[in-house]
């Protein structure tokens, strides 16, 4: 999912006049949420046989829609990383879940805001099982297929240099050609963002012969993007996304949410599900906004199981802090 957004191409579409009216009112009036998505990115955004969209990014769109409308009312607008920023600026889309790595330059220079980290990704390696490689350190002297873009090429050069290892790069202009060449045994390993690699190879015949190493050689915290000039809309997005972490920590899932809402005595749970506290109103939403999110999308574990478990991906860094991961919910109080 590391979209090949060069620094430059992001910067191209910087400063277009911002829209004045509040995004929430606008969305309400329109009656539909405009969500920018990048098409055909397995695990993140795909279309099933009946033409329904599904994926991790799609779930983010649904989260916001559930919070605002209490139901799924979304117009998916296919964008490329190049066009997404302009569209966001000009009000063509309300939110862009696929904001890629939250880095200083993107946050500060783009005139856009991140709404928290929803995924910890990183650059990893895909290798053949029979190559006897169990760690990146075993790749000394290997030929490695790689796609041009962002910092992939530099990360790997730095990593190998720091560890006194050598490699031969075979550098492709796009990810799919690189994978195709790796599949044809042009290279010993293929390097890219781990989750997106997993998504792309899920349907490979003989997927079992390949393994994605657990190690990452770079840190890529992903977040969704909204416009910078509407703090309340940003709050809505940030706290809506946070509902899913909170729900997981409180043990509320898509399945048991109705039960919990009726029976739970936990005050934070009650505040979250809108039984009391009136938290939704403070955001300009209905009080059962979080209930709708959990009902329609689920908690973070539900999302992971739906989208990434089929790709054979463990949660790793993306586990809850209680289980040794990095995700921890901001408290609802």
């Amino acid at each position: 999912m590391v979209k090949i957004t060069t620094c430059f191409s992001i910067l191209i579409f910087l400063c277009l006049p911002a829209v004045d009216a509040g995004t929430l009112e606008e969305v309400r009036e329109r009656g539909i949420l405009r969500c920018g998505i990048v098409e055909s990115s397995p695990g993140f955004s795909s279309i099933d046989d009946s033409g329904q969209r599904f994926g991790f990014d799609i779930d983010h769109c649904k989260t916001i829609s559930a919070a605002v409308f209490g139901e799924i009312r979304i117009e998916y607008i296919p964008v490329t990383p190049h066009t997404a920023f302009t569209l966001l600026q000009s009000g063509g889309i309300d939110i862009f879940p696929d904001g890629a790595t939250w880095s200083f330059v993107r946050d500060v220079a783009l005139g856009l805001d991140y709404t928290g980290v929803y995924l910890y990704a990183g650059q990893g390696f895909l290798v053949r099982k029979d190559a006897g490689v169990s760690s990146v350190k075993d790749l000394d002297g290997a030929t490695i297929c790689i796609a041009q873009g962002t910092t992939l090429e530099q990360n790997i050069a730095d990593y190998f240099d720091n560890h006194g290892m050598t490699y031969t790069p075979v550098t492709f202009a796009d990810i799919d050609k690189g994978l195709q060449a790796y599949h044809a045994d042009r290279c010993d390993a293929f390097t890219n963002e781990r989750l997106s690699t997993a998504g792309r190879i899920i349907n490979w015949p003989g997927r079992d012969e390949h393994v994605i190493l657990d190690e990452v050689i770079s840190k890529e915290p992903f977040g969704a993007l909204v416009r910078q000039d509407d703090p309340r809309w940003r709050d809505i997005a940030l706290w809506s996304f946070n509902v899913r972490f909170a729900a997981e920590e409180l043990g509320i899932s898509q399945e048991n949410v109705d039960d919990v809402r009726k029976n739970s005595q936990n005050t934070e749970t009650q505040r979250l599900l809108g039984v009391h506290g009136g938290f939704g109103e403070k955001l300009g939403l209905s009080n059962d906004w979080a209930y709708h999110i959990i009902k329609l999308v689920g908690n973070y574990a539900d999302m992971w199981e739906r989208n990434f478990t089929p790709l054979g991906l463990e949660r790793g860094l993306n586990a809850s802090w209680k289980e040794g991961g990095l995700h921890s919910a901001l408290p609802f109080r």
């Binding site: 296919p78 490329t80 202009a173 796009d174 799919d176 050609k177 195709q180 349907n203 490979w204 003989g206």
Partner: protein, 374 residues
């Protein structure tokens, strides 16, 4: 190597009277295939070469090939061509990702394109020059309106969805029609009596002709937004088309320049003597002749353009080859003979078009050289 001999050597097809057909064949074979020890060796070597290339190829492509079905399961292994792959993706190869229910627009548009261009290639059609404005101004407008929609009740189709053979044709025809007027101006400029204009045109033409099409496309994709005033954003396909037009007009200008040079001086003088001004002289006397003379060269440039459109896939616009390439990297088809079949299919498609066009160009050349000799 054998000795070079003239191609039309009278001995190549001896037909002597009083011989049976069989004897004729035999002696033809002896004279053309086994006339000397060297020739015997060459014939055998070539026969062997044909045998080891064509027999496996035919086997792979036709005899052993998997023909039935449309799913990956229909071709279980790589040992033979996988035609179900072509059948399953044929629509994508033709239309790219253009919405299925809107594809009639593509068919209609391509039909119109053929209707507009065909007379241009008919040597006997008298109103070629009158047709040109139609082709250059009116058709692109109709085409853009039809293909991208957004008006007249037609649904809008983003150019990102254009692809396949449709994109190849659109690009080739659009670039041909837009580059010709610029080519005329450049060619005239290069032969102008004004030194500065001449130098400028020559530099411009030679500059772009010495840069690969791919680089020009990259310039358009990456640099265009920088040259543009703020807020003006152009579509990626449009940028690519502008780049190819720029490039093609330089190549076409060279074709036209050659033709302009071949127009006898008397024609210029006669036109001047009639009291015609520069533009009138050029457009009603010189250019019609020059275009006729340049037609074979223009056609072969067009073939080059047709082949060059494949470069679009490098900048992320999927023409026929791009769609094939894309489909071949689909995991479902990875372990089948799909990619080889796909490339051969695309090759066949391109070959058919380029070959017939090159035959046409050769025919034109023959015809024009006949005129010259008379």
């Amino acid at each position: 190597m054998t000795m070079p001999v003239e191609t039309n050597s009278p001995s190549s097809f001896p037909r002597r009277r009083g011989r049976t057909l069989f004897q004729g064949c035999l002696s033809w074979i002896r004279e053309n295939l086994f006339s000397s020890p060297l020739n015997v060796a060459l014939t055998l070597a070539c026969g062997y070469l044909v045998a080891i290339t064509f027999i496996p190829l035919v086997n792979w492509l036709i005899i052993d090939a998997y023909w039935a079905g449309t799913t990956p399961q229909d071709c279980p292994d790589k040992t033979a061509a996988c035609w179900p792959f072509i059948r399953a993706r044929f629509d994508q190869f033709m239309y790219g990702l253009y919405p299925v229910e809107e594809r009639w627009r593509v068919n209609l548009g391509i039909g119109l394109a053929i209707l507009f261009t065909l007379p241009l290639f008919l040597p006997r059609f008298p109103h070629k020059l009158r047709l040109l404005p139609l082709l250059i101004v009116i058709y692109p407008l109709i085409g853009i309106g039809l293909f991208s929609g957004g008006q007249f009740g037609l649904a809008y189709v983003d150019t990102g969805k254009w692809g396949g053979f449709f994109l190849t044709i659109v690009t080739a025809v659009f670039v041909l029609s837009t580059s010709l007027p610029f080519a005329v101006l450049l060619a005239l400029g290069r032969r102008s009596s004004i030194p500065l204009l001449r130098v400028c045109c020559a530099t411009w033409i030679e500059l772009w002709r010495s840069v690969p099409a791919l680089v020009v496309l990259f310039v358009a994709i990456i640099m265009f937004p920088l040259f543009m005033p703020e807020g003006l954003e152009t579509d990626k396909l449009l940028r690519a088309l502008i780049a190819l037009t720029l490039l093609m007009s330089c190549y076409m200008a060279e074709a036209l320049r050659g033709a302009l040079q071949s127009i006898p001086k008397g024609q210029y003088e006669a036109a001047e003597a009639l009291g015609l001004g520069y533009w009138q002289r050029t457009f009603s006397v010189i250019l019609p002749q020059a275009i006729t003379v340049a037609l074979p060269q223009i056609t072969s440039n067009f073939i080059g353009l047709f082949k060059e459109t494949t470069v679009l896939l490098i900048i992320g616009l999927f023409d026929l080859l791009g769609m094939v390439q894309n489909a071949a990297s689909d995991p479902a088809w990875l372990s089948q003979g799909a990619s080889a079949t796909g490339y051969l299919f695309a090759a066949l498609f391109f070959w058919m078009f380029c070959f017939s066009l090159s035959r046409y160009s050769a025919y034109l050349e023959k015809k024009s050289s006949l005129y010259k000799n008379v």
